[in-house]
């Protein structure tokens, strides 16, 4: 029996390959994810080992609330005096104050700021050559106007030794002379893609930390023979709380943990796509096996008649599935290792990065997961067809035709039950307060319901769409064929539906987000022009010279202008984003912000305002006191002067103007302005643009441009996700090809008949194409419907996060349906050609 299985597998290589392809893709994602994270993880390990090799002990400001998470840290410095205190600790041979902070943005020769993808742009103090840093060319900076750039930055900026170069820091743009080029151990241009500017020690603190006499850390060298741990303990007890004292090994471990958690995100994204394509794979394999079992009914019944047992029939189908699963897993593992290695290599080489790959790693988890997933998925998919094969009665061997499709009653009942339950849960979730688990459970149950009901919908829906093609005989025949095997049509369409549903769901959420934002901007923002930096995902939003505000105010045609500073703070030990607004009444007018308790005009030294939801959460009212710590100035007690509503541009906390010097970045993040009635916005905008010549990262936009900038940041991610989901759709196309090919094969006699009575080759191809288009458009319609439902559920769940308007992405929905039609046409090419080539004589001869 196993021999017979093997024979039948070999005779349908291509077909099985097609259905196994989705598993190959899924396994590729799975193993690729493991290979990528392992390879990069080890590359980062090596990098950090290098970076912290020469660090014995380092002292930095302590994070708020005793947390060890780097994210919780407020960017601040340690006072210069700390160096002496550390040096005085017994066992310390040397203590050096260093500045090394992200945010030194060099303006390249093209006038644009040099950017990185995820790596830091460090601004540091030049502390001389050491184990790690070496001068490749030139000399050390001798004055505050001289800098050393690392080799990667020199190349990225397109500058040469001796050139003058503009650099943006927390201070406005300043011009420096490049006097040296630095490299790292082993002649590296960069450490892990970081760009680095080394300033003279006299200016580094002011430029990178906002004020003089600060260091971002103190590096400690223990005296000969004193263990690192002893020095660490000594410094800790000498300095008390408020500082973090870490050894090089601890820093390395912390950096490694950070990198691991970033890689874990990449890992889960890839595994998510793996799950999608594996789901599609299950549907495709199930369909292929169902069709093959139906077509082989007589053959399987004959085997039973010759003495094969039910168990053997079951085993033979499952064995086929197992072979597919193992083969697909093996292929997927191979491509996964390739893809993982390729991605790691791209990552290590792009943008002048010099993360040296320490060889491609294939962790044990990769093959284990690949084969586990491949085998499991194919077996699960084959169980239903296998059981059906085992139930074929022996008498079927004597019957003329294949058994007709079983009635859909049970399936329909289950589908209606699941669909109703899902709809009820969704309604409860939507009508209620948008409880996430209700919506989630509703979405999943509803999805299952739709999947179970697809066979029942196949005939009526495909039939209705098919009316478009009912003008010709070939079109009518194609339409009838599409509704002929509802299960087959439904399964094929379901595979397509998965990808399109996810794409539509995402687009629905994006469209709703945009619409909500647009509504809010229309309702609340009356500013005519908004000056701000382009927020990218990697960096803090860039800031600019406060002098710009004065110059903007002085422009003719500007009726009001308000600037906003931003910073991080700890309020009652909790990390919070704070803002300072230069002209609160003007800002409040432009952003429809108003006090619900107290008065916004009542802000002053140590008197702050808080947004209503935060006030409710922390039980604050005017007169309450909170403990606030900013980058500088220590922890102080402040009084709540007002509680406000609206004012999205401010955030949770509004601080008085007197706090600007205590912020890590004493520069403006935004300026918003209104134009006087008789001035043209475009004119004013041109004049403002001229003022921003020194800040290439900052742009001025009108409200529409602001909206685009706010939504634009999702575009790249959305495109990326859609490309990956597109792969799932692509695989589903193979499913359509597969189904059609099997159907064409099954209908050889019919094709011969219609060819004999006068259907031309062209008409035959059209007939198959119509069938394919109907199946694919049916799938696309289902996908759009399910995706819209999913999107609506997510939008409802996000209601509290400010997505209050539900909007449908009509153009993209239209695109999905058109895509369905195109998929149909493309998928039909090979089966249609095959159908057209049907040899009439062989098809009709009865032997």
């Amino acid at each position: 029996m196993l021999h017979a299985t093997w024979k039948s597998l070999l005779s349908r290589k291509l077909r099985l390959l097609l259905s196994g392809l989705a598993i190959v893709l899924g396994v590729t994602f799975v193993s690729g994810a493991f290979v990528l994270t392992d390879t990069l993880g080890r590359a980062f390990d090596d990098l950090y080992a290098l970076q912290y090799r020469s660090v014995d002990v380092q002292v930095r400001p302590a994070p708020e609330g005793g947390s060890t998470e780097d994210d919780e840290e407020i960017r601040t410095g340690v006072p210069a005096g700390l160096v002496d205190r550390v040096r005085a600790v017994p066992g310390v041979a040397a203590a050096t104050g260093i500045v090394s902070v992200d945010g030194a943005r060099v303006i390249g020769t093209d006038g644009k700021v040099v950017t990185t993808t995820g790596s830091s742009r460090l601004g540091s103090t030049w502390t001389g050559e050491n184990d790690l840093v070496r001068l490749r060319a030139g000399r050390a900076p001798r004055t505050g106007d001289e800098v050393v750039l690392n080799a990667a930055l020199l190349e990225a900026a397109g500058v040469r030794l001796g050139d003058r170069v503009g650099i943006l820091t927390v201070q406005p743009r300043r011009t420096f002379t490049v006097v040296g080029v630095q490299e790292y151990t082993g002649g590296r241009d960069s450490l892990g893609g970081n760009l680095e500017v080394s300033f003279h020690s006299s200016v580094a603190s002011r430029l990178m930390l906002g004020r003089d006499g600060q260091f971002s850390a103190v590096g400690v060298t223990p005296a000969a023979g004193v263990p690192t741990a002893a020095v660490q303990a000594g410094i800790r007890s000498a300095l008390g709380a408020g500082y973090r004292v870490q050894t090089g090994a601890e820093l390395r471990a912390a950096a490694r943990t950070d990198a691991q958690s970033d890689l874990a995100v990449v890992n889960s994204v890839l595994l998510g796509f793996a799950a999608v394509s594996l789901l599609v794979g299950v549907v495709l394999i199930l369909n292929t096996f169902a069709i093959l079992v139906a077509q082989r009914t007589r053959e399987l019944a004959l085997l039973r008649a010759l003495g094969g047992s039910r168990r053997q029939t079951l085993a033979s189908v499952l064995a086929e599935a197992l072979v597919i699963g193992v083969t697909a897993a093996a292929v997927g593992l191979g491509t996964g290792i390739g893809v993982g290695a390729l991605l790691a290599w791209l990552f290590s080489t792009q943008g002048g990065r010099t993360v040296a790959l320490a060889g491609i790693g294939v962790p044990l988890m990769a093959p284990v997961a690949a084969f586990g997933v491949g085998v499991l998925v194919s077996l699960v998919a084959a169980v239903v067809p296998a059981l059906r094969a085992a139930r074929i009665p022996v008498i079927a061997a004597m019957r003329e035709s294949a058994t007709p499709d079983r009635p859909l009653t049970t399936l329909n009942r289950a589908g209606i039950a699941a669909g109703t339950l899902g709809a009820a849960l969704l309604t409860a979730g939507v009508v209620g307060d948008g409880t996430a688990w209700l919506l989630g459970a509703g979405a999943v149950t509803g999805f299952v319901g739709v999947v179970l009901l697809t066979p029942a919908m196949a005939r009526p829906v495909a039939g209705s769409i098919g009316r478009l093609f009912a003008g010709t005989a070939a079109g009518r025949l194609g339409r009838l064929n599409a509704g002929r095997n509802p299960r087959r049509t439904a399964n094929t369409a379901t595979a397509l539906m998965v990808g399109i549903a996810l794409i539509t769901g995402m687009n629905t959420v994006l469209a709703s987000t945009t619409a909500s934002l647009r509504d809010r901007i229309a309702d609340q923002i009356t500013a005519d022009l908004l000056i701000a930096g382009d927020a990218s995902l990697a960096d803090d939003p860039p800031a600019f010279d406060p002098a710009v505000l004065q110059r903007v105010r002085a422009l003719g045609g500007v009726s009001a202008a308000a600037g906003t500073y931003r910073g991080d703070a700890a309020v009652d030990g909790e990390r919070a984003a704070v803002a300072v607004v230069t002209d609160v009444p003007a800002h409040a007018r432009m952003y429809s912000m108003r006090a619900v308790a107290g008065a916004l005009t009542d802000l002053g030294p140590n008197r702050v305002a808080v947004r209503d939801d935060t006030a409710r959460r922390l039980s604050l009212r005017p007169g309450s006191t909170v403990r606030v710590r900013l980058a500088y100035g220590g922890t102080r007690s402040m009084t709540v002067a007002a509680v406000y509503t609206g004012g999205d541009a401010v955030g949770e906390w509004l601080l008085p103007i007197s706090e600007v010097p205590n912020l890590a970045v004493p520069q403006l993040a935004n300026v918003d302005l209104t134009v006087a009635g008789d001035a043209a916005v475009a004119d004013v905008r041109r004049q403002v643009e001229a003022l921003l010549a020194d800040s290439p990262e900052i742009t001025v936009t009108d409200r529409e441009g602001y909206l685009r900038r706010q939504t634009g940041q999702y575009d790249l991610i959305a495109t990326l996700i859609q490309i990956l989901l597109g792969l799932a759709v692509l695989i589903a196309v193979l499913g359509v090809v597969n189904t059609l090919a099997l159907s064409v094969l099954e209908r050889t006699r019919e094709l011969g008949l219609v060819r004999a009575v006068g259907l031309t080759r062209g008409q035959t191809m059209w007939m198959v194409t119509v069938e394919a288009v109907l199946i694919a458009v049916f799938g696309a319609l289902l996908g759009v419907a399910v995706g819209t439902g999913l999107g609506a559920a997510v939008v409802r769940a996000l209601h509290r996060s400010g997505i209050t308007t539900f909007a449908l992405p009509w153009p993209r929905i239209g695109l999905c349906l058109a895509l369905g039609a195109v998929i149909g046409v493309v998928a039909a090419i090979l089966p249609a050609a095959r159908a057209a080539r049907t040899d009439v004589l062989r098809a009709i001869s009865y032997e």
Partner: protein, 246 residues
């Protein structure tokens, strides 16, 4: 000859394969079928009767010689022209699998016209439907019809476009004797009443006896023919053929 010729085969040869494995299925067959005549082609298995029909119907290409349907020579016709010729001038009735399961009886009958984008002439349609006696069954699907009814639907389908000739390949081969008799009676009637030309390949002497003329094939060549045959006469001729063969 005053009667116009519907189908004509001139020195038709059909060879399969090449070299040692070459098989000669037809060796120089010449045959003229008069319009409005019911011809049966008989012969033992392997005599080439099916091949001859396929060649005359344009389903298979001849190796040598010429076939004409009406005024059209089939030799050298491209697929599109051949398909159109089949659609407009030839009707087919096969032994089995004659109907599309997705179409109703009426739709099946209309299929060739509908492929051509034409509508049947209403009066002619009514006449044919009455003749096959399926008026009550027009809305049924093939799987709701008996074998005989299905074959009568196939007959109507062949007849409705008024082709130059109808080729019937063992039309009664899969039917019980009563259903077979109904189908043969219908074919006979369409020749008599509508002047339809019909060629029927069969191995059943009783079926062949319904024809105006029986042509006997053996080993790829015409050996003899009978006019106004009877079942006994056909049977005798067949026995003689077998004896010659043996």
């Amino acid at each position: 000859m005053t009667t116009p010729v519907a189908v004509r085969a001139d020195d038709v040869w059909k060879l399969y394969g090449s070299g040692e494995a070459q098989v000669t299925a037809l060796r120089g067959v010449s045959l003229s079928l008069a319009r409005g005549e019911f011809t049966a082609v008989m012969g033992p298995s392997g005599s080439g009767k099916s091949t001859l029909m396929h060649c005359m119907a344009g389903l298979d290409a001849v190796t040598r010689g010429e076939v004409r349907i009406g005024a059209t020579a089939l030799t050298g016709l491209r697929d599109r022209a051949m398909t159109r010729l089949r659609r407009d001038q030839i009707g087919f009735i096969f032994q089995q699998f004659n109907l599309l399961p997705t179409l109703s009886a009426a739709e099946n009958i209309r299929l060739p016209l509908s492929i051509a984008g034409r509508r049947p002439d209403p009066a002619w349609w009514e006449q044919v439907i009455d003749a096959v006696g399926l008026r009550e069954r027009l809305g049924h699907r093939p799987n709701q019809l008996s074998g005989g009814q299905q074959q009568r639907v196939a007959c109507a389908r062949a007849l409705v476009p008024r082709p130059e000739v109808i080729f019937a390949d063992e039309p009664t081969g899969n039917l019980d004797s009563r259903s077979g008799a109904e189908v043969l009676a219908f074919l006979r009637a369409s020749v008599r009443e509508f002047g339809q030309t019909i060629v029927m390949v069969t191995h059943d002497p009783v079926a062949a006896a319904h024809a105006d003329r029986v042509v006997f094939l053996a080993d790829g060549a015409i050996v003899t023919e009978l006019r106004a045959p009877t079942a006994e006469g056909v049977l005798d001729t067949m026995k003689n053929l077998d004896r010659v063969e043996g």
